[in-house]
Symmetry: C2
Subunit: 880 residues, 2 copies
Amino acid sequence: MSHKYVYLFSEGDGSMRELLGGKGANLAEMTKLGMPVPQGFTVTTEACTRYYEDGKVIAQEIQDQIYEYLAKIEEINGKKFGDPEKPLLVSVRSGARASMPGMMDTILNLGINDEVAEGLIKGNPDPSFARFVYDSYRRFIQMFSDVVMEVPKHNFEVIIDELKAKKGVKDDIELDVEDMKELVRLFKAYYKEQKGEDFPSDPRAQLMAAVQAVFRSWDNPRANVYRRMNDIPYSWGTAVNVQPMVFGNLNTNSGTGVAFSRDPATGENVLFGEYLINAQGEDVVAGIRTPSHISKLKEEMPEVYEQFVTIAKKLENHYKDMQDMEFTIENGKLYMLQTRNGKRTATAALKIAVDLVDEGLIDEETAVLRVDPKQLDALLHPQFDAAALKAAKVIGTGLAASPGAATGKVVFTADRAKELAEKGEKVILVRLETSPEDIEGMAAAQGILTVRGGMTSHAAVVARGMGTCCVSGCGEIKMHAEEGYFELGGKKYYEGDYISLDGSTGKIYDGEIKTVEASISGDFGRFMAWADKYRTLKVRTNADTPTDAATAVHFGAEGIGLCRTEHMFFEGDRIKAIREMIVSKTAEARAKALEKILPLQQKDFEEMYRVLEGRPMTIRFLDPPLHEFLPQKENEIKELADDLGISVDELKAVIDSLHEANPMMGHRGCRLAVTYPEIARMQTTAVISAAINVNKEHPEYNIVPEIMIPLVGEVKELKFVKDVVVETADKLIAEAGVKLEYMVGTMIEIPRAALTADEIAKEAEFFSFGTNDLTQMTFGFSRDDAGKFLDAYYDTKIYEFDPFAKLDQTGVGKLVEMAVNLGKATRPDIKLGICGEHGGDPSSVEFCHNVGLDYVSCSPYRVPLARLAAAQAAIKAKKA
Amino acid sequence: MSHKYVYLFSEGDGSMRELLGGKGANLAEMTKLGMPVPQGFTVTTEACTRYYEDGKVIAQEIQDQIYEYLAKIEEINGKKFGDPEKPLLVSVRSGARASMPGMMDTILNLGINDEVAEGLIKGNPDPSFARFVYDSYRRFIQMFSDVVMEVPKHNFEVIIDELKAKKGVKDDIELDVEDMKELVRLFKAYYKEQKGEDFPSDPRAQLMAAVQAVFRSWDNPRANVYRRMNDIPYSWGTAVNVQPMVFGNLNTNSGTGVAFSRDPATGENVLFGEYLINAQGEDVVAGIRTPSHISKLKEEMPEVYEQFVTIAKKLENHYKDMQDMEFTIENGKLYMLQTRNGKRTATAALKIAVDLVDEGLIDEETAVLRVDPKQLDALLHPQFDAAALKAAKVIGTGLAASPGAATGKVVFTADRAKELAEKGEKVILVRLETSPEDIEGMAAAQGILTVRGGMTSHAAVVARGMGTCCVSGCGEIKMHAEEGYFELGGKKYYEGDYISLDGSTGKIYDGEIKTVEASISGDFGRFMAWADKYRTLKVRTNADTPTDAATAVHFGAEGIGLCRTEHMFFEGDRIKAIREMIVSKTAEARAKALEKILPLQQKDFEEMYRVLEGRPMTIRFLDPPLHEFLPQKENEIKELADDLGISVDELKAVIDSLHEANPMMGHRGCRLAVTYPEIARMQTTAVISAAINVNKEHPEYNIVPEIMIPLVGEVKELKFVKDVVVETADKLIAEAGVKLEYMVGTMIEIPRAALTADEIAKEAEFFSFGTNDLTQMTFGFSRDDAGKFLDAYYDTKIYEFDPFAKLDQTGVGKLVEMAVNLGKATRPDIKLGICGEHGGDPSSVEFCHNVGLDYVSCSPYRVPLARLAAAQAAIKAKKA
């Protein structure tokens, strides 16, 4: 027996989403519940997958099954495809596993031709019905030509306009039945002219072409982009639903509408939606007529309304979630065409989840699973005013690097950003790319826009940490910073011109747009408490300053998983001392420069420890290559040389000697501590002294410093640096005459560290997976350069997601899992965490839970997201 | 019972090398064979390891055992330590598992003090004996102070010189017994002045300090360097041999000597060596007196000579290898102090191995194991004339990047190298670093010297491929190329000045040194035939030109494992076409530029196929980032812009747009083919057309092209490029109407490729491990930058070898093994090879054999080495 590729609605149910797609499964479920659904069939997602495997051909056995099921629905509906007496017209709609609204194609009124049209009219002498039939017919030609045969819809609109001009009328409704007939004739002629063949009049041929078009639409560019944004695998494919048409545009006793069982904007428990009398679905979308609020249906068709309310409640109770439903009324009879869990705003999502628990419909665990962690971002950042946004003009798109909305005046330098911000101006800092020196300007800006750099570029990472809106890597920008402007969307923007950024979508807008502040509703606290109750994974934050640490603690961080000490080195006088250290020629001179940094660094740590009030903090020792601390520009070099009392040539020689072909793989991380152990010694002194001091002030904090050595690839390397740390720390502790425990651990961010984690765990008391670098090394591409080819990789579907945003579980994840197992084999109680950007991505958090990490660490504004994702992972794992 | 740390010679045997060290095991073996060996004891290598584990302290239990065994040898020898009546004097010598000649410390005459000296003299009234005793005493003070207490030996020589001046004599022998006594007094006074305490007169204290000094010498800098050069692990430690002294300097009926059972220079089967009458070992080394050839002993002491000849033959037959022996004659009695397998030249190694087989002493397999593969290099490259080298002055040292000796005039540019070479001059090209544009100049030079770059830098790789001597990464050089000179060893070298390079040692010499050409003896062919008989691993070569390919075939290469197509792009007009392609703005313009390259590339492949005469060739598609093809210098940019008919600004914009932060991890490898499939299409056309053409000329070649896609990290990426290749190839084959098989495979050089090799093997018909890049990514450091910190890593013993020269089996090897297993699981007949530089390193070749690769591929001049290493790996595996 051949494989079953087609199912009647009555053969399926709601659990068969993978095979039948969401729409198909729900149509089957509604059928099972006895609801009024026009009975059709679903061609499975497997048929779609097979279509692509077979080289974009629908196999004969699938075609045979489609015709077989067509015969079945003809019998069920008492109509016949292509039969002028009792013609069956159908809709052909896509329906993937996950809802992808508007991304794929739909064809209505399929099965019509000249004979069928005349046959339909014969059965109903009303002249308005004849107009309706020919209107449907011309719409079908238009839709079919566009969707199936790639003759643009717009070209048909031109023909309509020409006819209206000829007749001297303005609106489509002024065209009569004869005009519609004429349009059908003109459309078919135009089709023939374009395609060199007659418009297909055989309904069976129409059907197969339409099924194929839906399959094909799975691979259209907007679907591909949507999938990448929503983590939907290309391999899933789409199902196709073939359903007898019901006509909301049959007469004034007919209509069509869309409704939600609760308000999708606020979550309020009221029926929400709109409908149009005497219309098809398209008309609602087209916006020519204004739909009525669903409550008005109670007056117009009280029985239908009651029936619909009952069905809506029943569906909500059945699915135990807010439903988004489509319905059509044909001549006073209600038909359900679709139901699905409705999309909702973050606020609504929280309210509905909490309300459903209070109503006893779902339990807390289910409620926790109901909110997409990514939605929480919207609650924590300002957003554009929805009305203002409608009028705004998009001038370009970059990467959605750090969420939130920002509006302000263009500035090109960090200094200028700071200056204007101090005067109370709102500014957007626009840069080719940012560097650590820009940090104060970045903090002063409302938003940051960069030409280069990906999701983990300096700008992106720092902005997310600050909670500042950032759009990065907008390569369309032509930068002329020296001439004082940039070009985008065909316009030049000078300093002081307004632009607006949406860091959640990556869109860049011309001019000023009103923003609304973030507001955290009462439901938030209750909901997050449930999440915390069910999660086992701890959530820490990546923070380098007391301010960031305080923000993160406010958002529920349980400690700091990554404190990057180098970020502390760029402020004020410190950079000078660091530079003095770098140009030092002897260990003694270096030690002398380091002595100047010590008290500043120690003070930083003391402040951090005070903010954390006893929460743990993992401090990573100096990581970046030293050349990052030196200036590149001629005048800055001269200034620094004068400052340091050396010649420009001498300083240039130092800069040259620090130049690296591949700095990412260069002299950085623990390699600095191996060559300059005095740096590790100074940093250890700062950490341990800070802990001793703050423990003295607050014995209840009981601080246990966690010192993390970065970029380790070999256990002996770790041991070398650890020996320096332990020697220094033990001496300080002994001198202070106190008891102080501390831990020394390492980042796992070099493939070799993961491969030899059993060895490394002999020295490391904890591992923190640095998945940014681990991803770079494992894939062999640098995040700074990957932009040049990643687009080609997305276009060709070699990659379906950005491995810097979402952890690559196949490759990088394999290394992580290997390291977890090897590490635990050596040291069963080893503490395991992740501090890469992936710590704030829900699917990656789930992975971390599943491989047995103890905590994830992410930027402060992602802490709630990670808490929720961790809870969902725990609940899913328990249920599985 | 406590662990046994000390063994009498009579308690051990030759198999206990790991525990007793080579010297100790052989002394035990000679004892077992009944040979005249002064009976002493060995402190084990475990005691040394423990010494380091305990923080450089000799544990009490080890000290106790040493004294216990001292008592035993006192009894055996009938003498007593520190006893003036019958004093026992001992030598204390190091002896590691592997011979490390001269690297560690030795102390003779230990056990002497004032009383012992007087006691000795009492027993022998001869006044020359008294002089001998005090001479031995002062030597001991000198040696002990130097080795154990770090008071430099030289300072004592100054005291001797002062005494001689005062006495008005010239030679040491003119000093009489009273002078020697005076020296002992002066030495002890000087020691006290230096160390603030009396010279230790307690023999037991002397002994323990000497043992500790030997342990300590395991960690001295020259031992560390020697170990790194010879792959001896630091963890092995050294044993210490304590042996009663016998005195070759007792009288004229005494003497000392060193002899080899065969000639270590030629391998000839004659006793070879020298001796001195009335002397200690030191005197032979000091070179004040000229030793006699061993054959003269036959006349001077016929009985002793006969006894020695018998022992030498017996030892050679016993060890079945040429022996290097030390002996002493005390008052007419022969004592054996050491035997070991003798070091020998490459020529001798081959001859001895072949002769021993002919003599029936060893079988072919054993013979194959007897020659160090690395020695073969010396047979294939010119060497310095030994006599001329003695007079030469070393001015610096770099990395021994490509073996051989070269002498010539300094030039600073590739053009100048070519120019002078065409005039018949011998030149050494001296560069900061080389780039592909230098290729012709490199080929014209006798040797290449670079300031930057490691063992796998461009200069090193290309030089090895050409068989040209190269010393790379000599950071001591101060380069002033624009002023026309460089500084090294305190001297300025201008164009035209002579320098000499030894690419086998990394040494750089001042001036011209005579070289002798390589010569391959008749034994070579016979020996290599045995190697080929026993190996199972195939050996291919990395070659990009017909010349290199021919050289490699001459050296026994069985095909090409890596043909880097980009190297073909730098010659003459091609670079212009490539540049035209790079600046193209559309796929069409690119295709047009590629059309110009096609016939040239096809011709290259045709020539290669002709040279190979049917041997397989793996062709790697374009790999380097495109910016490598563009000029960097202002004038060259201008020239190129004119050439291409675009503005300088336009060209600069292209160069800027190709700039990468980390080019090693940038837009290269198959990423080029994904973004520009037309490049892969052109290269496929060239390969397939070449194969078709040459197959037509020579049907017997039956060429099966092997196309290799580089830098793959994801199977879909490989599939994308493979689809382009297959489509193009199949079309060409069909058009030609021929039958042609071809293979498409990939490099495994990105960690993710190794981790997902099961997936990748679905598309790849072969894997070639690119262990250069795989090492970079796995360790997370770039070979271009690692030089900045690797020295610190060697000094701290974090790394004991260069992972770019010798495959890191712990980390990188784990990935290789994983990929082999995953690949075979998917495709059991997958062909596996390695084409990184490691293919020419013996220990790495052994690894490749053991993990089940089918072949290794290395530079042409390393092919014999790889053949031998592969044979040794097979034989070792069989024996294990």
